[in-house]
Symmetry: C2
Subunit: 419 residues, 2 copies
């Protein structure tokens, strides 16, 4: 795709986003239900497209060019299709995040300031193998009135095309739903072009591995929402309850080792009495333990765990604030005071007490759906739901009001919150 | 300053920010009062330093290297010092934005998720001539528990040093207040180094002209909060009340023409009956009117106004969404319906009805103080007060809870908002 073409795509998305900003909740919800219905009617077509991708991928797995894990994520079946469709219905059921009055204040008699939530504009989403991301992101974008340009993984290109075509067919049937709200692009060159469109694209969300996220962050002036690493810690304090420590560490390391919220480093207080016993239990659970400093900044995404002894809560916090990726870190302790210090001082999106790091997830937090998990320090942090796809504007309703009157003292502000 | 030195400064600021995150409201407020008191005691020293800067600047004004406007902004006097000190007391009186519970939700029995506001970390502030910005930014940073690295304009270097030295002396007297919370740097090279510190600096706020903001945005991977242009519009609708239109346009163009919230383009509906009369009134108010398309994307910051006739509300909105810098745009109309459409569809930080664009300001909005005005579509938009210097973290308090129990269906989430 040439540069000019991509600028057109981005401009069309921007135009769509401006129209979408005033589309009613009713129209957006009808669109979501129609998408769910149309996907259900076209299940077979999508599964056939998926079979084609799987056949291509299989030969790559056999020749060692693709991992079995990626192959598994690529595969759709009846159950996954049902979950995909249910995911859209879930978003339909969420409250509309747009047009909410966040604050209302009288500035003076007859002069009212209102802060209202509104869409961000155009999102650029780059994701890897899982094709079900398309319908999830499309639903979240529609509900939050944002236009979106999506680039999926090349392994799932046939599946992605079939899903997007189905969604577009559904949207065409909805009166008053603008065109170009959803656009799919396909090539590596498209990603490069997307990252240049800072005049039209307002937010980039990369969903995928470390190297994708780093590449995106280093090659765009557009704000990026996401996380590169997931180096999560568990600190077992002196006063930790042994049983809680054991269940939590095993859950956080083995329940789904390749998840970004799995634990990568275990810090143990030198006076925790059952340290050696615990380490043996972990070894027996097939976890490989590593005791070298090189391991402290590694994300293994596997049943491998870095272990370090620390002599105090402070040392644990210092280690975490130095090596953590700011995703999620947990303390196991029976000391309420130490838990408070840990949660207030560790500078991460999630700070937990006696809880597995695996809870860091939009569904588990009750957000209904998530766009991804952010380790940013601005805009949105942690699991990002619909709210993270909104910003706000300030409206003022007046009656001929001018600043000169206030500067010259003829009038005075009487700031008073109405809401 | 060498690259290594700057990395040290940034690292020290980061360390300070982590300590500051758990400093109490009481300590922060004592620090603010001590700063106000110490500035009052050192007024003379600061005015002497300012006299030196003014003397240097005067010769530059005479040789045409510096504008009289910059000279005027540079000048401190007893009144400005009093305002500076009052500004700090105002920040002292604001509610602490840190540690606020923004949401609390039970995920399951004994498993509680809490969203708490927290500081962003380290701010990099780059500002031009006005030396009173130092004390204002320092106060806002302290109140929001952020460390800050400040780079002021070179014209006010002596004044800046004297103010910062006074503030640092005050902070040394406060028990429990960490060192390196505030750092001042001085050279152009420092700015270049600051923009590279994306490992340590979390947010850059440039306060100054268009070219400064553009330079910053183009040369850093750190999120930037601010606005480059201030191209604000007023649209006079067919049904506009003439008197309101006249007072508002004159206020928005002449009350302070160099402000970013001054109007730059006037759109007039072709059926507004008193168009020619109004244009004559504007000319008589010493406003130069320009009718060429080249003027549509210019920020004159002077008593010059672009004027364009439009044939509909839609054409006005389209023009604004194309040429506005997204700062503040106002409609003058007696049609409530047209005002609603305008305010919902114009994609700017401020959208006003029958109000001068000059109201876009943190003090006028009742925020107590402002860090600047943002035209960003993420994080913070419009006038940014203390809240814009915060982000949040998620705490989870549990009792040995693991994700496996939920995945395997032994337990179920019962998401219930507690707050």
């Amino acid at each position: 795709m040439t540069e000019n073409n991509f600028e057109n795509i981005a401009l069309n998305a921007k135009t769509a986003s401006k129209k979408l900003a005033s589309v009613s909740t009713g129209v957006k919800n009808s669109a979501l239900l129609k998408i769910a219905e149309t996907l259900d009617l076209n299940k077979e077509k999508i599964l056939i497209a998926n079979a084609l991708d799987l056949a291509n991928a299989k030969s790559k797995v056999e020749s060692g060019k693709l991992s079995q894990a990626v192959y598994n994520r690529l595969k759709l079946d009846g159950n996954k299709m049902r979950d995909m469709i249910q995911g859209i219905v879930d978003v339909y059921e969420l409250e509309d995040p747009i047009g909410k009055v966040l604050m209302q204040r009288s500035l003076d008699t007859g002069l009212v300031l209102t802060k209202v939530s509104c869409p961000i504009g155009v999102l650029g989403i780059i994701f890897e193998a899982r094709p079900d991301v398309i319908s999830q992101i499309s639903a979240l974008a529609i509900k939050s009135s944002n236009a979106v340009i999506l680039k999926g993984g090349k392994e799932s290109v046939n599946t992605n095309k079939a899903i997007m075509e189905t969604i577009q067919n559904a949207l065409k049937k909805i009166d008053g739903f603008p065109e170009n709200v959803l656009t799919q692009v396909f090539t590596r060159e498209d990603v490069a072009e997307m990252l240049k469109q800072d005049n039209y694209i307002d937010l980039i969300i990369p969903r995928g591995g470390n190297s994708l996220v780093k590449f995106v962050k280093e090659n765009t002036k557009i704000p990026v929402l996401g996380h590169a690493d997931g180096i999560c810690h568990i600190f077992i304090d002196k006063s930790a309850d042994y049983d809680k420590a054991e269940r939590i560490v095993i859950d956080a390391k083995t329940q789904y080792p390749s998840a970004c919220n799995s634990v990568e480093t275990l810090l143990i207080h030198k006076d925790f009495s059952k340290k050696e016993y615990l380490l043996n239990v972990l070894r027996n659970a097939d976890i490989e333990l590593i005791f070298t400093p090189e391991s402290w900044h590694k994300e293994y995404s596997d049943k491998i765990l870095a272990v370090k002894e620390v002599s105090s809560l402070e040392e644990a916090i210092e280690h975490i604030n130095k090596y953590s990726s700011g995703h999620t870190d947990s303390i196991i302790t029976e000391s309420r005071e130490n838990a408070e210090i840990f949660m207030n001082t560790v500078d991460s999106a999630g700070v937990y007490h006696n809880v597995s790091t695996r809870f860091a997830d939009g569904f588990r937090y009750g957000f209904g759906a998530e766009v991804g998990i952010s380790t940013n320090k601005t805009h949105a942090r942690g699991p990002v739901g619909l709210e993270g796809l909104t910003i706000y504007k300030y409206k003022i309703q007046g009656n001929g009001d001018i600043v000169k009157d206030y500067v010259e003292g003829k009038k005075k502000f009487n700031h008073k919150n109405l809401l």
